[in-house]
Symmetry: C2
Amino acid sequence: MQNFKSPVRDTKFVMNELLGFEQHYAELGFEDASPDMVEAIFNEAAKFTDNVLAPINAIGDQQGCKWEDGDVTTPDGFKEAYQKYVEGGWPSMAHPEEFGGQALPYSLSASIAEWFSGANHSWAMYPGLSQGCMETLKAHGTSEQKARFLPALISGEWTGTMCLTEPHCGSDLGMLKTKAEPNQDGSYKLTGTKIFISAGEHDMSENIIHIVLARLPDAPQGTKGISLFIVPKFNVDDDGSKTDRNAVHCGSIEHKMGIKGSATCVINFDSAKGYLIGEPNRGLNCMFTFMNMARIGTGLEGLAGTEAAFQGALAYAKDRLQFRSLTGKKNPDGPADPIIVHPDVRRMLLTQKAFREGNRALAIYCMKLVDQGLYGSDEQQKHLAEAKLALLTPIVKAFLTETAQETTSYGMQVYGGHGYIAEWGMEQLARDTRICTMYEGTTGIQAIDLLARKVLGSNGELLKVFGQEIRTYCQSLRDKQQFNAWANAVESHLDEWLQLTADIGKQAARNPDEVGAAAVDYLMYSGYVTVGYLWLKMAVVAQEKIDSGSNEVDFYQAKLQTAAFYFDRLLTRTRSLVSAMQSGADNLMSMDESLFLVD
Amino acid sequence: MQNFKSPVRDTKFVMNELLGFEQHYAELGFEDASPDMVEAIFNEAAKFTDNVLAPINAIGDQQGCKWEDGDVTTPDGFKEAYQKYVEGGWPSMAHPEEFGGQALPYSLSASIAEWFSGANHSWAMYPGLSQGCMETLKAHGTSEQKARFLPALISGEWTGTMCLTEPHCGSDLGMLKTKAEPNQDGSYKLTGTKIFISAGEHDMSENIIHIVLARLPDAPQGTKGISLFIVPKFNVDDDGSKTDRNAVHCGSIEHKMGIKGSATCVINFDSAKGYLIGEPNRGLNCMFTFMNMARIGTGLEGLAGTEAAFQGALAYAKDRLQFRSLTGKKNPDGPADPIIVHPDVRRMLLTQKAFREGNRALAIYCMKLVDQGLYGSDEQQKHLAEAKLALLTPIVKAFLTETAQETTSYGMQVYGGHGYIAEWGMEQLARDTRICTMYEGTTGIQAIDLLARKVLGSNGELLKVFGQEIRTYCQSLRDKQQFNAWANAVESHLDEWLQLTADIGKQAARNPDEVGAAAVDYLMYSGYVTVGYLWLKMAVVAQEKIDSGSNEVDFYQAKLQTAAFYFDRLLTRTRSLVSAMQSGADNLMSMDESLFLVD
C-alpha cells in the first residue's frame, strides 16, 4: 500500500504563490501566521498526518467501530491518535484565545484538515464534527454557554456533534419531529431519535456535546419551527465541569460501505436535558453558519480522496511493468515498460492531477473568503467575500466530491484487478469517498442551492460579482500571447454561463421544474469553469516563476502541462453539460410516474 | 431491501419484437426454441433467479468465502442454490445432446445469465466460469477430451475455471511463466502460480476442471509461446470417472471490495498433471473464442448491475417522501411528495432506465450474432455476423460496465445517505459491479482492442459493415416524420464516427500514441452511437405496437419517452468525447515522467 504524503508544497503554492496569503493574513491582522510560522505548522501537521493518521487508516477499515450496550469502541489506534492530536494543540488552532484557542485563521486549520482526511477519512471525521459544534457555539451561543462548553471542546478534551437527520427526514428538515419541552429551570427536555450522527458516541473523549435540531411546543410547522439545542452526553456545571450522565444514548451504529472507523450513530434522546442556543424557531438559520463550513469541509474530503488516489495510482503506474510503449521501449532492460508510458494510464493520472490541484485551488480560494467574512474589518471586502462564498459553497461541496468519484475510481482502474483487492488500499479510498456526494446535502441539494437560491435567488447578482473577477483577470492577460487561448476559453465560458443562467431563469418563470432539470448539470458546468479560471491563474503564476529563474522548474513546468491537459480534456466536458441543460425539463417530467416500471 | 425481479418482459421485447428471434431461431434450426418454449424457460428461470438466487445475495456479501487449509467454503445457501441450478438442468442448456446437453441456443442461456447476475453477481460467477471452460473444451478439445470432461461439466456435477493471470502479468499475458513439461505418457506436468482465479476452489461441485495457460519447454518468448492445458483438481479416468487428487491447490483467497461470495483464488500448480488442448503455442488464439463470450458475459454483469440498481432506486423514489414538487403538491394527503416528483431524481432514474433497456438491446443483439456464428450455415451471414461481433464485443464489454458504474452509483445517490448503508443493498451492488471494468480486460484494453485491432486493424472494414446496417435503417425511416430528428441524429453520428476514425488513423500513422490517447473516448463514443441506433429501432417498434392497437400502451409509451430522454441527454454526451479525442496525444504524452510527482 502506498504511504500517504501530505501535499505541503502544493498547498503552499496555492496559498502563497497563487492567492497571496502572506498579504491576506497581514491584512486581517494575523501577525502570528507569518510565512515562517505557517511553514513550521505545516511541517508538524504533515508529520502527524503521515506518521500517525495514515498508518491506522487500513486498520480502521478492517476493524470498524464496535457497539456494545450503548458504548462505541473505535478501531485500534484511533484513541491514541486523537490523544496526540490533542497534545499537539491541533483542535484549538482557529479558536479565540479567550477560551484557550490559538487565534490562528480558519484557513490554516482547514487546509490541514484536508490532509487529515487524505490520510484517514474516518478518523478525521471526529475532530471535524467537533469543529462544527464549536463554530455553532461561537456563532450563536450566549457568553455563558460559550464559557461553559467551549474551553473543553477547544482543548479537545471533549468532542461535539451535529444532530440533524431523523429516519423520515434527511434533506427535508422541515419534517423533523424531535421535541424540546421547557423545564422549570430554563433548560429543555429533548425527546426523539436522530440517525446518521457521525461521532455521536465513541471512546476518544470524556464528554460529547450534541448540537440538536428540535421543535418547541406549538412551534410552527415546517422549517420555521425548528430550534437549536445544546445537549451534552454528561451534564455540565456552570463552571464547565462534567457531572452526571444525561438521557442521551447511542442505540446502534450503521453498517456502511466505507468510513467504517467513523461511528455513524442512532442517537436516542429520552427527555434529555438541553439548552436553547440562538433564537427560538431560528434553528435552521443558525445551522447555515455551520453548514457552509461543513460543506467546504465535505468538499475537502472529496479533494482528499482525489489526492490519496492520485498518490496511490501514480506509485503503481511507475512501478507496474506491462506491455511496451507503442513508440518504442522505454525500459529496455526490463521485461516490459512501466504502465505510465501508456496514454490511457496518463489520461487517468492527469485527470487526478488536474482535479487534485485545480480543486485544491478552489477550496483554498473559498477558505480565503471565509477568513475575510470571519475576520475582515473592511465592510465592502467582507460583503464581496460573502457574496462569492455564497455562490461557491455548493460548488466546492458538490464539484470536489463528484469529481472525487471519478478520481478514486481511476485510483482502482490504474491498478487493474489489483485495484479491487483490499491490500492495495485503493478500494477503501473509493468506498470511503463515496459518502461525500450524499452527506451534508446531496449533489442534487447543492445544485438547487446554487441555481435556485444563490444564482436565480439573487437575480444573478452573485454570479455577476464573481463573473466580474473572472472577466477582469482574463482581460488583464491580453498582452500575454501565450495565455490568450486559455483566457479566451475561460471568458467565453463565462459569457455562456451568464447566458445559460438567463435562459434557465426565463424558462423557470414558465415552469419551476426547469430549475431542477438543469441544476446538477449547471453546478458541474459552474465547477468546470471556476476551476478553469483557477488553472489559468496557476499557469500564469507558474510561467512567471520559470521566467524569474526559479530553481523549481519541474514543479512549475508540471503546472503548465497539467493546465494544458485541463483545458484540452476537462474543460471541454462543458459541451455535453450544455446540451443536457438546454434539453429542458420535458424529457424528465413528461413521463407519467405510472410508466416507471420494472418489466 | 428491494426484491429482484427478472426483467422477463423487457428481454422478450428485445428478442421477439426488436430483433425477430422467432425467425432467427427458426433459421438456425432450433425448432425446440419456439416462442412458447422460450416463454416457459424464461418463467422457470425467473422463478429460480428471484426466489433462490436473490435471497442469498446479501448473505453472500456478509459472510464471504472462507479459506482453510486449501479448502474454500462458500456462503450459506450458495451450495444449495447450485444444487437447484443443476437439478433444473440450467448448466446444460446450450450444449450438445451428444454430451448430455439440451442443444438450445447460446442466446437463451446468455440472456438468462444476465438475470442470475442481477440477482446475485457472486453466485452467478461459478456457473459463468464453468461455461467458459466448457466453451473452450467444445471449441478446441479432441473428441477424447470432450468425451472425458464434458459430460460431468455439462450436467453441472463438475465446474470449471479459466487460469490466465499471474502476479506479474494481467493484461500482458506474453510475460506469463507457468511451465508445462511433457510426461512420458503424453500428459504434462504444470508448475506455477495463477492469481485472481474465480471459482478456483469451492465446495459446490465434486471436481473442478482448470483451463490453464502455460509455456512448453523451449516455447518462443511472448504471446506466441503460450499453450493451453486442461488440469483437473481430481484426475479423471478415460471413462470420465474422478480418481486421485491432482497437485493443484488453492493457496489463499483475496479480500476484495465486493463479489465477496465469489472465491477469487491463488492457485498453485506443483507438477500438476495436465493435458494439452489445441495446438502447441497457439493457446492465446484458442483463448480468444472463450474471451469473446466471456467479454459479453462481463458486459452482461454490468447490465445486470444497472438493472438491479434501477429496481432499487425506483422503489425508493416512489416510496420516500421528501419535499414538495415545485409545480404543486403531488401527494397532498401525505407530509411530503415521493421524491420521484423531483426532476433530478428522474434524471437519475431515466439514465438507469435508458441504459438498462438500451444496453440490453445491445447485449442481445450481440448474442444473436454469436448464435449466427456458432450455428449458422449461410456462410455470408456467418461472415457478416462475425465481423459485426468482432467490432461490438469490446463495446459491449466496456460500455455496459462503464455505464454500470454510473447507474449503480445513482442507485445509492437516489437513496441519499441511506444508499451508503448496507441494509438497503445498493452499496453492495455498487461494490459488486465495480469489478466489471477491470476484469476480463480493463476498459483501456477493450478500447485498444476496438480502435487498434478491430477498426484500424481492419482498415475500417468492420466499422463500414456495421455502419452500413445503421445507415440503411436510418434511411428507411425517411417517410416516418416522427422519427426524422432521431434518425438524423444517429446518421450524422455515424458520419462523424467514420470521420473521427479516419482522422485518428491518419494521426496514428505519424504517432502510434494517438491511438491510445483517443481509445477510451472512442469506445464510449461508439457505445453511445450504437445504443442510440438501437433506441431508435426500439422507438419505432414501440410506435408500431401502439398504432396497431396493443393493449400494453404503457409499456410502449415508456419506451418512446425513454428514447426521447436518451436522445436529449445521453447521446449528447458524445460532444465532450469528440472534443477530448480531437485534442490528441500531446496533452497526455508531452509531460516528462519525472514531472509526475506528489508535492
